[in-house]
């Protein structure tokens, strides 16, 4: 790739395409295995972020590196403080910040504390920070993820200003509409490779989405035996769930899940899937709307209550949310059901019963090594996930919510997990599959809901599956008619 002074170049691609990795190399956080970086024709090697800063490259991360109780001026000059007679020259600091702001058309309250600023303003502070240190190449990683539409417009104005004064802006984003609005050139990445380069003015969302998602690959449809749908397990209506930093994560989401089907949620990371899973499983409250499980309206349910009603959950973040690493495999299997037989009897742990159940499950799920007393932290990721699945499926759940079930797993582990999910479906459970891996969603689901910015943008039955179409729905490039009752046949 190449970048010229004074232009805005965007980098787009699906989850896992490699965009952030590439930019982390450019900003000095990672070292590449091969290839080279040339700055003004000179081959350059970065050993740390400080090297990159010295070469006038500044990165504005998705997660801000700001210190909340300190002021804007203090955050900007930290580490490069102007001094006067031994004391911090706050006036000089303020002036420097003001000057930079004015030059690029921002306005920031220089003495305000970061924690009192809106997210949009905080982002501007990050940009000023980088400009203060003399950056001429600015990398913005998903800058609009947390901004309101108004703040996005402000940001674009800033980007144009910066470009006009000779800076280079590299914009990483999923939001095709925005990318097309500001970028002169757009690079499209897929699976770690550059696949296309288009002119911003000459392209459109459909084309970009198609390039990102690629040609239709034969989706291995595993076991698409026609089933009749069973009872209505989960009915969500107009759900509003708060997210981080007072931006709502779900803004009126509705969907339905029936017994005997796999429902997939396709969406780009950060569009509300996580919060949806947490709301359904009792880990996050909702502010309005309703969730009905098997006909009954849920009211601030606790995770324990829901498990009791046979709603199982395989969370993402396996290490922190699904397993307790220092405990043994059989103890992890007992988690949550540790008071009932076969794990306990009258409050006392039933070691024999627990061991027996654990051994049986380990064999059934082909966990290696099949040692119930091994510390689960020592197992491979794939085997850990098998244990988690074993635990949840042993509940004989009516509804199984799985989030990112195969992240970080090798091929055989992935296959094993997929088989289990389909088996659950065969046994009459409903499966809610939330995954950032579109292939996975497409190959397993009977129906797909596309989610974008906290709402369902479309619903497709298996017969209508079309990667490109799903891609467009996921990226907000196309809006279906408002979701109505799902079609009669799966």
């Amino acid at each position: 790739m190449d970048f010229e002074a004074g232009e805005i170049v965007a980098l787009v691609g699906e989850n896992g395409a490699g965009k952030s990795t590439l930019m982390n190399v450019l900003s000095g956080l990672y070292t590449p295995d091969s290839g080279e970086i040339l700055i003004e024709g000179q081959p350059t090697r970065f050993r740390s972020p400080r090297d990159a800063i010295a070469r006038e490259i500044g990165m504005v991360h998705q997660h801000f590196m700001l210190i909340p109780p300190l002021t804007v001026a203090e955050n900007v000059v930290l580490g490069l403080e102007p001094r006067k007679r031994g004391l911090l020259d706050l006036t000089a600091a303020r002036n420097a910040v003001q000057k930079t702001c004015q030059r690029f058309g921002f306005s920031l309250p220089v003495d305000a504390r970061i924690e009192d600023l809106t997210v949009g303003s905080q982002q501007k502070v990050e940009i000023i920070k980088v400009l203060y240190r003399g950056a001429r190449v600015l990398i913005l990683d998903e800058p609009t993820a947390v901004l309101t539409p108004q703040e996005c417009d402000d940001l674009f104005a800033v980007m144009r200003e910066l470009a006009a004064s000779g800076h280079t802006i590299i914009l990483i984003s999923h939001k095709l509409r925005e990318v097309l609005a500001v970028a002169a050139r757009i690079y499209v990445m897929r699976r770690g490779k550059l696949v296309a380069q288009v002119q911003g003015s000459a392209s459109n969302e459909r084309e970009l989405a198609a390039l990102m998602v690629g040609d239709a690959r034969p989706s291995p449809s595993i076991g698409s035996a026609k089933r009749d749908r069973g009872e209505l397990l989960l009915e969500i209506e107009d759900l509003h769930v708060p997210g981080a930093q007072e931006i709502p994560a779900l803004r009126g989401l509705s969907l339905r899940i029936f017994a005997g089907e796999v429902v997939g949620i396709a969406g780009v990371d950060g569009n509300g899937q996580r919060e949806l899973a947490e709301a359904i499983t009792g880990l996050r409250p909702w502010t309005s709307g309703s969730i009905r499980f098997r006909g009954e309206k849920l009211r601030n349910p606790s995770p324990g209550e829901l498990r009791h009603r046979r709603l199982a959950h395989v969370p993402e973040d396996r290490l922190s949310r699904a397993i307790i690493a220092p405990m043994t495999v059989e103890e992890n299997i007992a988690l949550g059901r540790d008071r009932e037989p076969p794990f306990a009897r009258k409050g006392l742990i039933d070691f024999a019963g627990r061991r027996e159940r654990a051994s049986r499950l380990l064999k059934e799920f082909d966990v290696r090594p099949p040692d119930a007393q091994a510390r689960i932290g020592l197992l491979s990721g794939g085997n850990q996930q098998k244990v988690v699945l074993a635990r949840e499926l042993d509940l004989a759940p009516r509804l199984l919510v799985v989030v990112q079930p195969t992240r970080g797993l090798d091929i055989s582990a992935v296959r094993a997990v997929h088989e289990r999910l389909l088996l659950a479906r065969e046994r009459g459970a409903g499966v809610l599959l939330i995954s950032l891996d579109l292939d996975e969603v497409l190959s397993l689901s009977d129906r797909i809901y596309a989610i974008f910015e906290g709402r369902i943008t479309g619903e497709l039955g298996r017969a209508e599956f079309d990667e490109k179409r799903v891609g467009r729905l996921m990226m907000g490039a196309e809006r279906e008619r408002p979701p109505r009752a799902p079609s009669a046949n799966a």
Binding site: G79, R83, L88
Partner: protein
């Protein structure tokens, strides 16, 4: 009536410096993110070292010995907490226990079980001109440490909020990762603050044995280090706040003692025990009211692990 207030003011100014310096020492250390439960122990060794040194060197220099003793203890805490990422509460508690028993051991071995021999207290200075003014004259006749205790908090406050070093200390205490991305070394900042905290706590201890009293008494500082922690929390981890809280607590204590001698009937209504418990109860109320919005430095107590590539 006026005499009573004057007397209370005078004794407050005598008792407060120890608490003030200890509280400032705690603030310094905790502002950079290192919990400092060991203030009690640092005061104890400071008081002891000063009282012992004053037997052979002029008392002024002996105070320096007290400060060094506090710093020595603090450097162990710093080494364990920063280099080895030990649990900071455990390390602090351990140092308290070691200081408690160790000083007792040294006291017993070399002197008498109740305390060290008397020394020449720090000279008291008279502030000219206000001797005739009622109330104000309570400000005169104190040792240098007292006057220092009135000045240092302001200086410290200025340093913390108006110098580059202070800015970096605050940054490191809130979000060390952000500071690292800007090229600031977290450990290089934390060692001096912890050891500096020890110097101040040692000074507080020395104040007890060279100004407030004229020797090291076996129980010193008798829980004062923990009141200093309360003052730090109550004062929201700022030097001026800690100063105010410490002065307030010391004043309350002086008031309590004053009441005991001059108006014992008041104590029949409000028992001494309640008054003694008051600083701690107030601190708890403040903490409970603030809830999760407490002003404690955000990275307090969390050992910092430098990111590895």
């Amino acid at each position: 009536m006026l005499e009573v207030i004057e007397a209370i003011l005078f004794s407050t100014l005598d008792y407060a410096p120890a608490l003030i310096f200890a509280a400032l020492g705690a603030v310094l250390s905790e502002r950079s993110g290192i919990v400092n439960i060991g203030v009690e122990g640092m005061m104890r060794v400071g008081a002891f070292a000063a009282a012992v040194a004053a037997l052979v060197v002029p008392t002024g220099a002996a105070v320096g010995a007290g400060m060094l003793a506090g710093a020595a203890l603090a450097s162990i805490h710093a080494y364990l907490s920063i280099r080895w990422r030990s649990d900071q509460v455990v390390s602090g508690m351990a140092l308290n226990l070691v200081a408690l028993a160790g000083v007792t051991f040294l006291l017993e071995t070399r002197y008498s079980p109740t305390g060290t021999p008397p020394i020449a207290q720090l000279q008291r200075w008279t502030v000219g001109g206000i001797d005739g003014v009622p109330l104000l004259r309570a400000l005169s006749g104190h040792s240098a440490i007292t006057y220092l205790a009135l000045v240092v908090p302001a200086v410290f406050h200025l340093a913390l909020f108006r110098t580059a070093a202070g800015l970096r200390i605050r940054a490191v205490g809130e979000k060390p990762l952000a500071a690292t991305t800007l090229g600031i070394s977290v450990s290089r900042l934390r060692y001096p603050t912890v050891i500096g905290g020890g110097l101040l706590a040692g000074l507080g201890g020395a104040a007890l044995s060279t100004a407030t009293l004229d020797r090291f008494e076996q129980h010193m500082p008798a829980g004062l280090g923990f009141i200093a922690l309360a003052a730090m929390v109550f004062g929201r981890w700022t030097p001026l706040g800690a100063f105010g809280a410490a002065a307030f607590f010391a004043g309350g204590n002086a008031l309590r003692i004053g009441l005991a001698s001059s108006a014992p009937r008041v104590l029949k209504i409000v028992p001494q025990g309640f008054l003694l418990a008051l600083p701690y109860l107030l601190t708890l109320l403040v903490l409970a009211a603030q809830g999760t919005k407490s002003r404690a430095p955000a990275s307090l107590g969390i050992p910092f692990e430098p990111e590895s590539k």
